[in-house]
Symmetry: C2
Subunit: 263 residues, 2 copies
Amino acid sequence: GWARAVRGLLLDVSGVLYDSGADGGVPIAGSVEAVRRIKASGLKLRFCTNETQATRENFVKKLRGMGFDISVSEVTAPAPAACHILKERGLRPHLLVHDDLVPEFAEMDKTNPNCVVLGDAAENFTYANLNEAFRVLIGMEKPVLISLGRGRYYKETDGLKLDVGAYMKALEYACDVQAEVVGKPSKRFFESALAEMGVPPEQAIMIGDDIVNDVGGAQRCGMRALQVRTGKYRPSDENHPDVKPDAYVNNLAEAVDIILQHL
Amino acid sequence: GWARAVRGLLLDVSGVLYDSGADGGVPIAGSVEAVRRIKASGLKLRFCTNETQATRENFVKKLRGMGFDISVSEVTAPAPAACHILKERGLRPHLLVHDDLVPEFAEMDKTNPNCVVLGDAAENFTYANLNEAFRVLIGMEKPVLISLGRGRYYKETDGLKLDVGAYMKALEYACDVQAEVVGKPSKRFFESALAEMGVPPEQAIMIGDDIVNDVGGAQRCGMRALQVRTGKYRPSDENHPDVKPDAYVNNLAEAVDIILQHL
């Protein structure tokens, strides 16, 4: 039943299309071909990622280098979504983000900042930079903290790393404020991706490896959602107390097989 | 009524005895003399501090340099309290603390750590050190995080700094664990100070500048507590939603005047 009446697919990228590694990453078996088959089928498609360590341009370049048929205009990512919010509300950001993400904010006025935008800043998460972002926030009458995601940690080849969510919690506590999260699992983020596809939630399926941010987030928007058994998937996810995917699939290729059979 | 039947005083140090500044700090007017008068009166006395940027030895040395009559044996501080807990439970700490605090843990076995002790590490709060502490925690079946205080931020001459509580929240979130807080406002910490004085809570008064950590914490142990209008005191503290001191005093000297009159 879960594969009926589909008009659009949202694909998470890391852990679904490829696994990140020392030299940028390797495609997951069958995923390059699966993306091609989705496009050939006439289904609408968005790549829906929480990536904030690179501009979409560089992110897409890396994926094309692995053989994926993907272009910048097909990617929904937190930084452009944040820019949209900043413009809408007349906010001037103080950025605490990865150096490689800064160009996404090129058009934003950053003088006399009246909010902080927090991304996975990695090596930029220094004591000095955290204190500086804190001072900007605590100096405001009503601090505005915009966080590009709320991940707890992720794995790189040299070990586990604290993700943006941990630093978000530090600043939230210090300033007694609640961050506004842009990116998965925020409802608004999924709704943007759906609007860009022109597909209503009941005709869309999200495919991801993250039980909370991909599956839970998409389901709360009225979409169906599949969890792949690749990337950060762990068997214990199948006993998650709050979130139950519409189906499990071994990988993206298997999901696409089933969906295309039902078209 | 608040000054009746007193046998012992607990004094917070920073903001009550002295204000920290560029060259270590300056005594608050009347405080050097007030400490002398307490000692001459026969009242029991403990200095009860959350200081974790120096060993007690160096902390006391600094205060003696300002003219205070204080010795190491009169100080209740988080690091020795943490050592007590570590010994009691057979814990081997991974330390993320200020370099100058490390000697307090000289006797602890730090091989193959089975807990993390977090202090105000200041410049040691690097991206690499935070990831390392995180990996130690996430590698445990049941992560044990001991935090030397839960302060949000403090002021130094070059600006506001995130305090240990912010980093505690980051690690708590990333590991889905709750830290055990040693130091004010923990009940056990105040109880140790009372035991060291040999005075029951109903005969003791805490004097501090922090409405939550000094006043609220002491009152929860059954003590009376005064807030001084020095240090980090702010007029808005007098409208705190949860905590109401037994009295406000302009400074330590005024508190001691009133208490000694009632002896």
